[in-house]
């Protein structure tokens, strides 16, 4: 991959990187610093990047390592590692990420359909990594309300994804002479 292509790809990755950094740091300024350091580190060691692998996985790993190195508190670190690996392994490793582009589109259309209250909570917490407490304070509602809206939004997403899967299955099965 040429430098120009890598640069474009890197700029394209910025929002994802920043979201990930935001979920780790839970602080926009820290997240910005982390993304900046990640970009610097990545470009300076670009020779070590294997073009056969995914740039996003590689950069996420750099970001994560930088973050863990900066976090002194061991217990907090363990918790965050757990959290990050959950995000990381599923969403950014290898073939799964590449294969799920159809699912990504589905999720995006789901977000568009979701009602405002639930969407706001879901995005602030699941995407931006804000704490329940902060979101509750910002929206002026009790934490319980935030928790419950979030749970409902997630269950709807679950239903939506399952329904789509199911619908596809039905279509295939109902095709004349199709799979049974």
């Amino acid at each position: 991959m040429s430098d120009e292509a890598l640069k474009t790809e890197m700029i394209r990755l910025l929002p994802k990187l920043r979201s990930f950094a935001l979920r780790l740091c839970r602080n926009p300024d820290q997240a910005d610093d982390l993304v900046q350091t990640t970009c610097e580190r990545a470009i300076r060691s670009l020779d070590q990047f294997d073009p056969a692998t995914r740039l996003d996985s590689w950069m996420f790993r750099i970001l994560q390592n930088l973050y863990f190195n900066s976090v002194r508190d061991g217990a907090n670190r363990a918790r965050l590692f757990d959290l990050a690996m959950m995000d990381f392994e599923d969403s950014y490793d290898g073939a799964k990420a590449a294969a799920s582009s159809l699912e990504l589109q589905k999720v995006q259309s789901f977000i568009g359909q979701l009602d405002e209250d639930n969407r706001e909570v879901l995005l602030k917490i699941a995407i931006e990594g804000q704490s329940y407490k902060d979101v509750a304070a910002e929206l002026g509602v009790p934490i319980g309300t935030v928790t419950s809206r979030l749970a409902r939004a997630r269950l709807k997403l679950r239903e939506f994804l399952e329904a789509k899967d199911g619908a596809q299955g039905v279509t295939l099965r109902s095709m004349p002479g199709g799979m049974s």
Binding site: L14, P15, C39, E103, L104, A126, I127, L155
Partner: protein
Amino acid sequence: MTFDKKREQILLAEDIGRLLDGELSEAEAAAFKDAISNVEDADQLWRDMASDNALLQSAVSAPVPDRSLTRFQSVIDREFDKRDVGPLARAQPFWSSPMVQVAAAIVLVAGTFMFTAFWMQSRMDDAVASLAAHMETERVLLAQTVQEALETRVSGEPVYIGQEGSWTDVLTPIKTYKSKSGHWCREYVRQTTFSGRDLTIQGTACRDENGTWTTVFAEPISDKFTPQRDDTGI
């Protein structure tokens, strides 16, 4: 799904959500995972929601403030620009640095000089040794020729006492006289030419009772010598 079931599911989803969002302490999280691991439905929902969450996170990015985006892009531009210049310098091996090149040149020159000096020295040693051997061999022969020349040739007649390549050795008796002590003596000029260079020696040799001519005096002269072919006096 009954209302109770629905209610139960929402509560479970809330707990799973807290786990996913890092709202639980380490101990709470461990306890919760432990509790749901034995309940098949709950465990399945936890897995599904975790994967949904990951999917959601890769599908949707938080909006990046313009200020942050500008900052990131300028960092990326700057680092790539450095890299455009950098790789050449980095890709080149260490010996391309001017200092190293200068050092290498010095070592090369000094090494060549030392080797040459050593080589020349050894060659000169060889030459001197072979010349010495040559001279030693020649000396005996020369001596006989010189003896013969001094004994038999008339004054002024050049005698080739040695000739080999560009080397010639010509001895010319010049004057013959009887010394006060009663010995016959002859003055001579010996001109040695080697590769176009001349060494002319004027010397005096005297004959002892056994008929052996011995040089008693010799000094180098430059170009005073002119053979006198017609001088036959002794």
